[in-house]
């Protein structure tokens, strides 16, 4: 009996060791990554506002995320008197669970994927990550506070409005791929030799705006507008529950940028993956890592204390090790088979980081929208634009196949299509603004109106 159980377990592990390992790595590393995304965001914000940002914990504040995590773990936990205890407990778990689970469908390079063969890839990711809204609505409802309820209502209305536009943008992208499988989508972009962001720029733009709204980021961060609603749906959450919400929010950011990267930015492909002339780009990742390591070594003597010097040395060593790993498949013939896995992972993470950087850049640049402006942008601009875009991309594909166009020459038909879609949508928007200009003096809205 015992033997049989052990045998079955061994067979099981033999079959599924790779996805299990990937899952363990994601669950273990993702909180740390999120912590460092927050640190990078604070540092960038500080830089753009001509300050220094966190500097105290570790050299240049590099250990700040760990200090924050410990602080949040040992913080006193408060559940308000009238709160619904069970839902209050469940809501953050649901939120973070949906966000983490949606990563299962994504592929970080061709080798690193949990659900390898599911044929609904993108649909799985989008569907599961949309479940996170339950966590937000239930959390706001359960805490029994005006601010929380208002934040969760706003959040649900906003997510629901932009979900449609994002879905339609994905449809325009899927027209070009003809499949939902993540691997096949990236392979389609490899075969065409062009990223779909070039062929469907309007769809990418719609997805970009909608993904910012869906992750509740500035300038669409109405649900947690701190100047109006304290912290929105998170107002009553403290300590580790709050950090679970935070984790869910940043994980969602990673998920939407990964979806955009996979469908529009060529996934794990190097820029110009099929052109041999650009093969020198394979040396960029290791050189980048060596550059970072060199900078760390340069800064080491300037650190004030012995511990900080050692820390800087450790960071430099880590970067050098990464550089060696990235260099091996290019330089050593024996490690050639690992090329796709290692460099694919690097380019994927690089593109996702660039997308997230763009999110942050927008946050520090553009002031927050008003709620009616937000809804108007979603319903009166993005949704008509996405409907028109689906149709014109369809027409462009037919015309392209009539003239037997492939790859870069497809631009001849898709660029006019994008321009037509934009012009039509702008005309609709202008018509709407003209008709609403007459009724500017609307009565003042009540508290729960949004």
């Amino acid at each position: 009996m015992m033997q049989a159980v052990i045998q079955a377990t061994m067979d099981f592990l033999k079959l599924y060791w790779a996805p299990l390992l990937c899952g363990l790595v994601i669950v273990a590393v993702l909180p740390l990554i999120v912590g460092y995304i927050v640190l990078v965001e604070r540092k960038l914000m500080a830089d753009m506002q001509a300050r220094l940002g966190p500097m105290r914990v570790g050299p240049h504040g590099l250990l700040q995320p760990i200090a924050d995590a410990v602080k949040l773990l040992i913080k006193e936990d408060i559940i308000p008197d009238n709160a619904d205890k069970l839902v209050f407990w469940l809501a953050p778990v649901l939120s973070v669970g949906a966000a983490l689970l949606s990563i299962a469908g994504l592929a970080i390079g061709p080798a690193f994927q949990i659900a390898k063969d599911i044929n609904i890839g993108i649909l799985f990711v989008v569907g599961v990550s949309a479940m996170g809204i339950f966590g937000i609505v239930l959390g706001g409802w359960a805490s029994n506070s005006h601010y929380s309820l208002m934040g969760s209502l706003r959040s649900s209305a906003q997510l629901v409005s932009y979900e449609t536009a994002a879905g339609m943008a994905l449809v325009s992208g899927l027209l070009l791929t003809g499949t939902l499988n993540i691997k096949a989508i990236v392979e389609a972009q490899y075969n065409e030799g062009i990223w779909f962001v070039m062929l469907a720029p309007v769809a990418f733009f719609i997805y970009l705006v909608a993904s910012i709204a869906e992750t509740n980021r500035a300038p669409f961060d109405l649900p947690e507008a701190e100047s109006e609603l304290v912290a929105g749906y998170m107002t009553e959450f403290s300590g580790f529950r709050w950090s679970l919400y935070f984790l869910a929010e940043y994980t969602n950011m990673i998920v939407v940028s990964s979806v955009a990267t996979t469908l529009f930015l060529g996934g794990w492909l190097r820029p110009f993956a099929r052109v041999h002339f650009f093969n020198f780009l394979d040396y960029v990742p290791p050189l980048l890592m060596i550059g970072v390591a060199g900078y760390c070594l340069l800064r080491t003597p300037k650190q004030p204390s012995r511990v900080q010097q050692l820390f800087m040395l450790a960071v430099a060593g880590l970067c050098l090790a990464l550089a060696l790993v990235l260099l091996a498949p290019v330089a050593l013939p024996i490690a050639k088979p690992l090329y796709a896995g290692i460099h694919g992972g690097f380019w994927f993470i690089f593109k996702v980081s660039a997308y997230i950087y763009f999110f942050m850049w927008l946050r520090f640049t553009i002031p927050r929208y008003r709620f009616d402006q937000l809804m108007r942008l979603g319903w009166q601009f993005l949704i008509p634009l996405s409907i028109v875009n689906v149709l014109v991309v369809g027409v462009a594909l037919i015309v392209g196949s009539y003239f037997n166009l492939h790859g870069w020459s497809m631009l001849l038909v898709t660029t006019p299509a994008a321009i037509i879609a934009l012009v039509v949508a702008l005309m609709i928007l202008a018509a709407g603004q003209q008709s609403s200009a007459g009724k500017e003096n609307a009565p003042a809205s009540d508290f729960y109106a949004g």
Partner: protein, 124 residues
């Protein structure tokens, strides 16, 4: 292939376990909470909350939810069409596929125009 979803199921167990375990762990190491004064009141910047917080709210949220159902179901119908479209185009039947989707989206656009004229898409 249902077996392809087995890793997802395992990962789902892991994902649910992670926040649950950390919440229990945090419970073990954090100080116990004390009830002092107005600490457990809903946070309203120090002012005692006025009335229950689960009051009535604007009907616009309901309208948006209903609109969402219409448009999102339509997106779901579009996805299988989008997947098959490339094959239809390759088989020189793209025009048929496009026209059928034009009809479907045309009906939707009529509805959209009606909603627009009614002011259902205006927030204020």
């Amino acid at each position: 292939m249902p077996s392809a979803y087995l890793p997802v199921l395992l990962y789902a167990a892991l994902v649910i376990a992670f926040p649950a375990v950390t919440l229990v762990f945090a419970k073990l190491i954090r100080p116990t909470s004390t009830r002092v004064g107005a600490k457990l009141m809903p946070y309203e910047c120090g002012i005692p909350p006025e009335g229950g917080s689960r009051g009535r709210y604007s009907v616009r949220f309901y309208i948006v939810a209903m609109l969402f159902v219409i448009f999102d179901v339509e997106t779901m119908f579009l996805i299988p069409w989008a997947i098959l479209y490339k094959g239809w185009v390759a088989a020189h039947a793209g025009l048929f596929a496009l026209v059928s989707m034009f009809v479907f989206l045309g009906i939707l656009v009529v509805g959209y125009v009606w909603l627009y004229k009614k002011g259902a898409l205006e927030w204020a």
